[in-house]
């Protein structure tokens, strides 16, 4: 089962409505959307880019893309937050490449964050992230190192080489953890 097929939350529906209005060129809707989701998207690009000025540039680009592509968003194909977060992550990864700024400069392994997040944005605590028992169950099946490597790649934008350096394991082992972790998730989610 695809988590996208789970029932949309009230927050999803609010975002969908705003994206629909953006597609019809309603500038007030984009501003409302910015208030609601910019804190989490800014956190996302800052974590990958690690430089505030670059993260601010990325956030501008992200909202310009959201405005221009809002008409392409289809609630039938996914949740609005996953769509917007993907735009943000891909933009940050593109900027990493353009700036030739690699997170290999980070010497230490970032701390793992707590699961409960107090969101400052409207919608309350981590309202941007719908609960998904299925996904939680599947993530719990991963080994510690598989989960750690996937998190470093997805959240921190780390490459295979960066992860190998950060966790102090051979590159081949890291690639194997990632490959097996993704396979395990797919099998669990689609079973």
């Amino acid at each position: 089962m695809n988590p996208a097929e789970e029932r949309p939350t009230e927050f999803d529906e609010k975002l969908q409505g705003l994206l629909g209005r953006c597609a019809a060129a309603d500038a007030d809707a984009l501003q409302r959307l910015y208030v609601l989701v910019s804190p989490i998207l800014f956190a996302c690009v800052t974590r990958i880019l690690r430089r505030r000025a670059l993260a601010e540039e990325a956030l501008q680009d992200v909202f310009i893309s959201i405005w221009q592509q809002a008409g392409q968003f289809s609630a039938m194909r996914g949740r609005p937050m996953a769509w917007m977060m993907s735009i943000a992550r891909y933009r940050a990864i593109d900027l990493l490449r353009r700036e030739r700024y690699a997170p290999t400069l980070v010497a230490e392994l970032p701390e793992r964050r707590s699961i409960d997040v107090q969101s400052e944005s409207e919608g309350g605590s981590a309202a941007w992230l719908p609960s998904s028992e299925l996904m939680e169950r599947c993530l719990a099946l991963l080994s510690d190192m598989q989960a750690r490597c996937l998190e470093l790649a997805f959240v921190d934008g780390s490459s295979h080489e960066d992860i190998a350096r950060l966790v102090g394991s051979p590159l081949g082992t890291v690639k194997s953890w990632i490959r097996r972790g993704l396979r395990s998730l797919r099998q669990c989610l689609e079973s």
């Binding site: 007030d28 984009l30 289809s74 993907s86 992230l129 996904m135």
Partner: protein
């Protein structure tokens, strides 16, 4: 050569979404995704799944100057607070009147914001179902849904460009109500440039999984320059 094995496609999609696919391979994959619904579908699956890995992210308020910068770049104007709006109402009204007249004259003389292509998809009874407008300057397709016929549950109507001598190119799922506006990809623009017709097929929820029409083609309508 692009793989057609679903397992390989899925593995590539997961690596792309995770971010470990880098460099030229990432650029090539992005182009492939833009033109292949099955690849796009697998990417969306992984985008939904992996989003939970970011559950530890703590939201960070962006600096106050970022939103005005976005407004400037998009040339947006949003509604001002009531007091300021009241104060500037008279001035704004005059400006709007003058700008409106100037805009009307500009529109008539240059017609740069007019659609470059239009199409009306109608039922046999003659009732309009969808109106399409393609804006060449903005590379934007706007679809207005009018009177939609009943459709089977869990299915969608998908729009196709029919390029001369080539396979149909998807222009996306059609809206069931209201208007939708989307930016065209380079592949869609090229297909429209050599198409004289568009078609609508009935497809599974979310659009054709193969990149080509899989259900019945229900409507074919000519693309024409606006009158």
């Amino acid at each position: 050569m692009k793989p057609d094995n679903p397992e390989i496609i899925d593995r590539l999609a997961s690596e792309y979404v995770l971010g470990t696919m880098r460099g030229p391979a990432r650029r090539r994959f992005e182009r492939w995704r833009a033109s292949t619904p099955l690849v796009d579908q697998r990417c969306r699956f992984w985008e939904e799944c992996l989003m939970r890995l970011a559950k530890g992210l703590t939201p960070v308020q962006p600096p106050a100057h970022v939103w005005p910068a976005i407004q400037r770049r998009l040339k947006l104007t949003t509604h001002r607070p009531a007091l300021r709006r009241m104060r500037s109402f008279a001035l704004a009204a005059s400006i709007v009147l003058v700008a409106g007249l100037a805009g009307l004259l500009y529109w008539r003389s240059h017609q740069t914001v007019r659609a470059t292509l239009v199409s009306t998809i109608s039922a046999k009874s003659g009732e309009h179902i969808w109106e399409l407008e393609v804006f060449g300057n903005a590379d934007r397709l706007v679809v207005h849904a009018a009177r939609l016929p009943a459709r089977p549950a869990g299915r969608d109507y998908e729009l196709w460009a029919l390029p001369k001598g080539g396979a149909p190119v998807s222009l996306g799922v059609l809206p069931s109500e209201g208007a939708s506006s989307r930016i065209l990809t380079p592949i869609q623009k090229r297909a429209l440039a050599i198409s004289s017709q568009v078609a609508v097929s009935i497809e599974p929820h979310g659009g054709s999984p193969t990149g080509q029409p899989t259900g019945d083609v229900l409507y074919v309508a000519p693309l024409r320059a606006p009158s």
